[in-house]
């Protein structure tokens, strides 16, 4: 498929996913998807000769489509947010969304490393580049953690522990805040192992 079409599909899906996630109060997705979209368009905006590999560009659109699917499922059925569908005090919806955030952040990391290699910021092996991509993904997870905490604080949840007893509300707030880093820590490690076999993806097309 043409790169231009791939970018258009990703942009459209990205914007729709930001809207559906905001509707469900999942604002940290906007942060992850904005980073992914900026990185997707970076070679065009910088007027670079080489572009990302087609496979990487196609992969970048998958998390957008997945989050739209999960948001639709949640809106229509609510099966991921019920009291029976909780894991560690947090609804399954947030765990699912965190997994998709982890995937998107990792692909963004791969794009960032490709970009840096092309701009000669990094002169390291492709294997190390995949590991840098994982680190970038985990840094984005830290960003999500902060956004989730601020969002919950603005929604009226308590984020402070003022007494000697641990308020039960904090179990939920802490769990939700930690859901993205927790899932990303495991998922991105697994993706790193997987992508070490596909490490040519950190090279731009035409840069052999």
């Amino acid at each position: 498929m043409e790169r231009r079409i791939l970018r258009m599909v990703a942009l459209a899906a990205g914007l729709i996913s930001i809207a559906t996630s905001a509707y469900l109060d999942d604002y940290s997705w906007a942060f992850i998807s904005s980073a992914a979209l900026i990185l997707l368009y970076a070679p065009v905006l910088k007027g670079m000769e080489n572009d990302y590999r087609r496979h990487l560009m196609a992969l970048s659109a998958i998390p957008f489509l997945l989050i739209i699917l999960v948001d639709m499922l949640e809106c229509c059925t609510g099966i991921l947010n019920g009291p029976s569908s909780e894991l560690l005090h947090v609804p399954l919806f947030f765990w699912t969304s965190s997994a998709i955030k982890g995937l998107s952040a990792f692909i963004s990391g791969m794009m960032l490393v490709s970009l840096y290699r092309e701009m000669k910021v990094y002169a390291i092996s492709r294997s190390w580049s995949v590991i840098i991509a994982m680190m970038f993904a985990l840094s984005l997870a830290v960003g999500c953690m902060f956004i989730d905490m601020i969002t919950m604080y603005l929604q009226g949840f308590s984020i402070f522990n003022t007494g000697t007893d641990y308020p039960p509300e904090l179990e939920y707030v802490n769990g939700k805040m930690m859901s993205t880093p927790t899932v990303a820590a495991f998922l991105d490690a697994a993706l790193t192992v997987l992508f070490l076999k596909k490490r040519e993806l950190v090279q731009m097309e035409g840069d052999e």
Binding site: M145, F146, F160
Partner: protein
């Protein structure tokens, strides 16, 4: 290897920590966890001196002082409830620890830059890599604490705000290291800096082997 001020600092702090740990053991209301923490921290204080004496690597004095101060503050914080009584105590220990870890990362990257021809870090990529590595360590540390709390029904994370604060101070530590590294590399070249570590030939050989891990 010649015995110097750095070895002296390591041994003094090692003995101080171990003695505090032993004294605690003789107390009526003994805090076993605090006592063992002091002893373990005391032993760890010796590591820089041992590394130097075995000819593996020579760390600079500022780095060694940061190590022993961080370890002693942690052990005293555990033993004398500094973490519970003093509100900002963990802020200081988190910052000091992250300075130490990020300095290790920085020194490792410098060694790779000098001895491994397949890796080349410019000032900018060095800065980005230190920040990324520290963010990764912060995430793994907080996830470890979260999972430990969940498994054992404890609250070492204390509160969501505390978790965010810890992460912020971890990043502050790496920022301080980046500033220090910039200052240091203005006064000497990277080669001179790495030479001052007096790395053992075996370590140099380990770094030099290309793509050894992958």
């Amino acid at each position: 290897m010649r015995f110097g001020l750095d070895d002296f600092a390591c041994i003094i702090m090692c003995l101080t920590n171990i003695m505090i740990g032993i004294l605690e053991l003789s107390d009526d209301n003994v805090d076993l966890y605090g006592s063992y923490t002091c002893m373990v921290c005391g032993i760890v204080c010796l590591i820089p001196s041992l590394l130097k004496q075995f000819g593996l690597v020579r760390l600079n004095l500022i780095f060694i002082i940061t190590i022993v101060v961080a370890l002693t503050m942690h052990s005293l914080g555990v033993l004398m409830s500094g973490y519970d009584v003093l509100e900002d105590y963990d802020m200081v220990t988190h910052t000091l620890s992250s300075i130490l870890v990020s300095m290790c990362v920085w020194m490792t990257l410098c060694c790779y830059n000098v001895y491994n021809s397949s890796s080349e870090f410019s000032g900018r990529s060095m800065m980005i890599t230190i920040m990324l590595v520290m963010a990764t360590f912060s995430v793994y540390w907080e996830v470890f604490e979260y999972l430990l709390d969940t498994a054992t029904n404890t609250h070492s994370q204390y509160s969501p705000f505390d978790t965010a604060k810890d992460t912020m101070f971890n990043m502050l530590g790496s920022f301080i290291t980046i500033l220090y590294s910039g200052f240091k590399l203005r006064r000497m070249t990277m080669k001179e800096l790495v030479d001052s570590f007096e790395l053992s030939p075996r370590l140099i050989h380990f770094i030099d082997r290309r793509h050894r891990l992958f």
